[in-house]
Assembly symmetry: none
Homo-oligomer: 422 residues x 2
């Protein structure tokens, strides 16, 4: 491990910040149309480029996108979203645990014994989420007496399920049909192994047990009475095991921290060994408190070598197909960055600013288009680009690179990237 | 699989369209020297870049080049040219078939019992090709009674050989010496396996049988009488098995079609699941009917999500070391593109235009120089480049990327590229 080094690094992610040309913006992207004086000033000061977060044309998920930006090859180590959600919910995982992202949802039992989905989110606003999770946490599953069932609640309708036991596999399909009016799917094995077959059976059995316990709960009786959708099942998706990867401390000898609102981002951060800070006001929603996040980041930088700062609302605006909202959220992001750099010693800090993927506000989806990248700090060779946008950064001095490269580049700027060779 | 999507895509390949600086053109390439108003207009409208079809400095074959442009890693799945030629000739292949490209050729038996090649193409013009193929199709091979011998004829001197049987291998060398005055080579095993040893023996036996049957055929007696070179052997090269790869439909859920003249291109298209359309006038020669090809492409786009349109003459002019002819063929290519875009709805179509490799008209060979790439369509972030040429596109907003990336980028533009992660 290198000696203590006063140089620090910050990775700032504007989630889904890249976009496509929008006709109502005269062909500009929201990032191009927004007023973002701080980002543009930093672009002028530093070097820019374009980032293919996974590889050209491949839309990244939020989990694989962040794994790549932390320097890992997602194609090697990723099995599913579940474990990151579980870590983000504060659960601890054992290496053989199978973790799922879950939704408390509303279903009705049809005549032919299917669960028809009425509301995938049980009304979304679910203040009883933690209580409902407690109700089904730790249940014994018929025919699987040795399996431990762990349920954790995060926010609103969102929860995670961890199945702990011997001989389980993450190669099982989702029960979440992802649409309203569809039936809850039977989980099926995705390979030929007996472990996958067993786990799919377990998942289907657990799902029926959850329904049995939830449908008659006093909480749901109360919700029914109040005219609210009952949270009477858990829809599961993204089965996975925790990636077997070295931590950022193992690789670079650095201490790392995470400032984020969303459970998934916290979870990916925990999976690579970051300390996840509790920042009141960091909500991952449009109202997220950027002053609080900037202050928390600056404070964390005093005690850590590297801080990951995540900003979600740019992505949410695109998912809502609202380019004007995205412009406003880019401007909020700019304000976040402005506040942060007012609080830190820029002479001893390297900052990377980029996105985890493009989210097109035309269709609300993650796309394979690259995202702009900006590196600024005392060791960075500046270029002629003075605008932080998709088109401007395409001409930048960093070139067009892969998401996996950002972390080693940032660590090299800090003289923390291990030499390969001698 | 995504829902039906009205957005369409066309991949237009100007074969061997890249070139090197030509001194007689004052250092310009033929593409730079040609008048190509349509290509330049599209470049101005869209985004450009440079494509390393395989990887920098590696000259692609026509087969591996197209496999890459269809999104496949040729290094993983390619064994030889034969199977693509066979598919292009309309033969169907079983997974264990060993397929070869063949030339009807003229040889004489030397005193030391070697076959000396007099004409590698038996005069090239060989109207009796199909008849000759019939003569040797399905023959029984001494010592290999269970092996099925299938011969298919394409055009002129060109044919394909398929060996069908148990325990065969594609790891065998060519019998085609690729030069005049050389001896026909003995095929040799290229690995230590008994299968390769057996197949080399089989190939040499088949070659002698072909000669025995062809040399005394009435067709050759007639040709001899007319002063034409006898087609008295089949020179074999490019042994391979069909790559085990998912189809484009499997990967992207799209329906695909191919408009091409040459058997090889049709064959690679078939290997990835494209419907190969019969387009009268599409000859793959200088006289190929570009109006017919444009019309066929526009028509195919009505019933398919993706059409691959291939234009051969740019490559042929380079192989003929004729830069002035190449300029004329680039201009013909421009006319093809002009005609096509007049027939389609550009508001709902994404077009990629590039080459499968550089063919240098200085030396007539495929080289490792990158080729220009142009992407145009409603979701594409335009750049400042307004010329479709090697040098201009080097500065384009798509950067310098690998051939394998074109397909996912095109599919991402259509929201058909599967997300990796969640």
């Amino acid at each position: 491990m290198p000696a203590q080094n006063p140089e620090k690094a910050i990775l700032i992610i504007g989630d889904g910040i890249g976009d496509r040309p929008i006709s109502s913006l005269k062909g500009k992207t929201p990032l191009e149309a927004a007023k973002k004086p701080t980002l543009d000033t930093l672009a002028a000061k530093g070097a820019t480029g374009l980032l293919h977060v996974l590889s050209p044309g491949i839309p990244p998920g939020s989990d694989t996108g962040h794994l790549s930006l932390f320097g890992y090859d997602a194609r090697d180590c990723y099995t599913g979203r579940g474990p990151f959600e579980a870590l983000g919910a504060g659960l601890d995982l054992e290496p053989t645990d199978i973790a799922f992202r879950g939704n408390f949802a509303t279903v009705r039992l049809t005549k032919d014994e299917n669960f028809e989905v009425i509301d995938r989110r049980a009304g979304r606003n679910l203040p009883e989420g933690a209580e409902l999770a407690k109700l089904i946490n730790g249940i014994k599953v018929p025919r699987f007496p040795k399996v431990k069932v762990i349920i954790g609640h995060t926010v609103e309708h969102r929860c995670v399920l961890v199945l702990r036991g011997k001989g389980l596999s993450s190669a099982v399909s989702d029960t979440d049909p992802h649409g309203h009016g569809d039936s809850v799917l039977a989980s099926t094995p995705m390979d030929e192994s007996p472990e996958a077959k067993k786990t799919a059976d377990l998942v289907n059995t657990v799902t029926r047990e959850f329904h049995r316990l939830l449908k008659d709960s006093p909480i749901n009786a109360k919700r029914k009475k109040a005219g609210l959708p009952e949270a009477n099942i858990v829809l599961l998706r993204g089965a996975g095991v925790l990636p077997v990867i070295p931590s950022l401390k193992d690789i670079y000898g650095i201490s790392t921290a995470c400032v984020a609102g969303g459970a998934l981002y916290k979870g990916v951060a925990r999976s690579v060994g970051m300390e996840v800070l509790d920042v009141p006001g960091a909500t991952a929603s449009y109202d997220t408190d950027v002053e609080a996040k900037a202050k928390a980041t600056a404070k964390a930088l005093k005690t850590h070598d590297y801080v990951f700062l995540h900003f979600k609302p740019t992505d949410s605006a695109s998912h809502d197909k609202d380019p004007m909202k995205k412009i406003a959220m880019v401007e909020k992001f700019d304000h976040l960055v402005k506040t942060l750099i007012g609080l830190i010693d820029m002479d001893h800090t390297h900052i990377a600013i980029t996105g985890d993927h493009t989210t097109a506000s035309t269709n609300g989806k993650h796309t394979g288009d690259p995202v702009p990248l900006l590196l600024v700090g005392p060791t960075i060779r500046s270029d002629d680009v003075s605008e932080f946008s998709e088109r401007a950064c395409a001409e930048g001095g960093l070139g067009h690179i892969l998401g996996m490269a950002v972390m080693p580049m940032l660590m090299s700027a800090l003289d923390r990237s291990p030499m390969f060779g001698a």
